[in-house]
């Protein structure tokens, strides 16, 4: 047996640097051969495509409103079409010299939407504010008060119309949705089946068929001699449609309220409506805010369909502005990009907000 001598093992290497840009690149871009391959492939495509896209969209783009310059050889995107037509695209067929009216109305309505999103303003007077702003919106757009010339609804168009359709149908559909959601959970079989049929029927058909119904069949539904404005008919259609979807969201919230809450309310001797109003709805509605918000985003996008039944909202106004002008018609794609950006700005900010609300709601559950 040999005497064992103490032999120290080699010291461990110093720990690898775990911060700094180089390490970040190594872990996020080149951690193994597969990720490295992906990085190289995507990087190559980006390096090839990005300069072309940037060149088309920015460096070779024509910004001044002249279609001769746009048609020149080697010209990129023709943003001049926006510079030339932006007022018609945003305000549609509204009388040109009165464009300040829809502008003020749009700002008012957007402001109202922003205010409604801020927690500080969630007070009892918020519905009143909605009423005031919507009245002001109508007075501004329609005119006939305070010396403003009357502008009929068939000349309304563009962004104000999009905003109006989306927000008014949200407001109008909410009470219907609430009742239908409660009805679907009712113990009374007749009421429950009516509500279920309504929701499933509407959710089973596309919005466009509802809009066709609103524009072709509503006139037949009314007593002879009664004429209803096309804007109102379309609004009713969108509201009925949105209500069915919101009802499902609210029903989800109602289901999430623990049964013990309702039982506790019953032991306290509260009636059905008292239970719903004081116990169930406050808890359920707080949970469904993100879902309602998502519904609002899809309604906002869906308002673009009304152009098919010839109401000139943002998209219809844009098509009308370019199709009526042979000089600018070749640059439709730039026009589409312009309104795509408008839609994106609205929808993206709303979806960010909805995320934020969701986090706020979940925060209370994390305790």
């Amino acid at each position: 047996m040999s005497a064992q001598t103490f032999q120290p093992i080699a010291a461990r290497p110093a720990p690898v640097n775990t911060s700094g840009p180089l390490v970040w690149i190594r872990t996020n871009l080149f951690s193994d051969w597969l990720t490295s391959l992906a990085t190289v492939c995507i990087g190559a495509v980006l390096l090839w495509a990005l300069p072309k896209i940037l060149d088309w969209a920015l460096f070779s783009a024509v910004w001044q409103p002249s279609f001769e310059a746009c048609r020149a050889e080697g010209a990129g995107a023709c943003w001049g079409v926006i510079a030339e037509k932006y007022r018609v695209i945003i305000f549609g067929r509204y009388p040109f010299e009165d464009h300040w009216r829809p502008l003020v109305a749009t700002v008012l309505l957007t402001g109202l939407l922003v205010v409604s999103c801020i927690r500080y303003f969630w007070k009892a007077w918020l519905p009143l504010l909605w009423l005031v702003v919507l009245t002001a919106f109508f007075m501004l757009m329609h005119g006939g008060v305070g010396g403003l010339a009357v502008v009929d609804t068939d000349r309304w168009g563009g962004l104000p119309l999009t905003l109006l359709l989306a927000s008014l149908s949200l407001v109008a559909s909410f009470p219907i949705a609430l009742l239908v959601a409660l009805g679907r959970r009712s113990k009374l079989p007749a009421i429950r089946s009516f509500c279920t049929i309504y929701v499933e029927l509407i959710r089973g058909v596309p919005l466009i068929s509802v809009l066709f119904m609103a524009s072709f069949m509503f006139p037949l539904f009314m007593p002879p001699g009664v004429k209803i404005d096309v804007l109102l008919r379309v609004l009713v259609g969108i509201t009925m449609f949105a209500a069915a979807y919101s009802a499902e969201v609210i029903r989800g919230g109602l289901q999430a309220v623990p049964k013990g809450q309702v039982e506790a309310a019953a032991t306290l001797g509260l009636s059905y409506w008292q239970t719903q109003r004081k116990i169930v709805l406050p808890q359920a509605l707080a949970m469904v805010v993100p879902g309602i918000m998502n519904n609002f985003i899809s309604t906002f996008k869906d308002t673009s369909l009304v152009t098919i039944v010839s109401l000139y909202e943002l998209m219809g106004a844009m098509s009308m502005a370019l199709n009526s002008d042979a000089d600018w018609r070749p640059f439709t794609i730039e026009g589409y990009f312009f309104i795509a950006i408008i839609y994106f700005v609205f929808c993206f900010s709303m979806s960010r907000y909805s995320h934020w609300v969701e986090k706020q709601v979940n925060k209370s559950k994390l305790r």
Binding site: G204, I208, P219
Partner: protein
Amino acid sequence: MTTSSPPKKNNWSWRSEAFRGVVYQIVAAGVIAAVVWFLVHNTLVNMRVRGIQSGFDFLSQAAGFDIGESLFPFDSGESYWRAFLVGVSNTLRVAVLGIVLATVLGTLLGVGRFSRNVLVRVLCVSYVEFFRNIPVLLQLLMWYVVMTQILPDAADAWQAGSFFLSKGGVNYPIPVWQTGQLWAAYGLLPGVLLGWTYRHWAVRRFEETGRAGSMVLMPLLMVVLASLAGWALGGAPTEFNFPIRGEFAIEHGGALTPEFLSVLLGLTLYTASFIAEVVRGGIASVARGQSEAASALGLSKGQEMRLVMLPQALRVIIPPLTNQYLNLTKNSSLAVAIGYPDVVSIANTALNQTGRAVECISIVMLVYLATSLGTALLMNWYNARSAIQER
């Protein structure tokens, strides 16, 4: 001195919950019946006043309009119901293809959100945010503009092999129908049987012995080989009908119209962004410990996704995925905006020609209701299959 006895229950009193329930229901039914009667009455009166005919008898009359594209031959002399049939088949064609493509793309994008490569993650996020925040109708119209204005004319179409891309759409070679292809189908049948039996056997063996055999690749190989064998037995026909550059258009071969392509592309890209979110949410809902346990067992990253994460995520994914499929089918109705002859567009034409608004719109609604219910049933069946088997 009063003895406290419970008050006598009167079943016909307003204080009885059951009685109130009956009254409420009768009132609700009465109100709805009154509204329906009011609408129907007005409609009938209006139709009489305006001299609008009603009824579905127009369906057997000659349609009198041509349809740009259809799966089976149609000419303007044929009846309205044949025209509607063409519309329905066109709707289903674009919807089914769109669902398949959107599922593949959406799953890739959703899984890509969990990539270790930051470029892949950023690409997936920007794709989803971009495509889902722009109205689908706008996207359809943009693709249609790209297809019909920006692509080159048919005379100088882009060519890749025997595929052409131009304002006329995509042209591609199609195999010429010969009896040899029938033989391939004959070969396919035993191949499917064989593959199915083998798979069953492999699964059984895996469950009994734990030895994992090839449960997907081998059966697939069997199916392919069997149909190839059938094709070879039938004389191995290789004749194709190639598209040729003509003077004004690409001739011969198969063709996809720009309308169809725009609808398909728009719907697929739009819905894929939603499916990606659904898949991401599903995967994120699987408990973190599952992924850690999988790595502890020595599964590779791919195996972990395929064997551990996705099967569990599937249960969360399927209900919202069904919704997306239904949305895609319903959104295919927007094809009317760019002139793809789907059922809405046919109904619209029929409505303008015959003036029978109620009938045409009801047909459209019925078609979509039937499709929605059908898809929902199918997906519910699949959902029941993939749900946790509780013992």
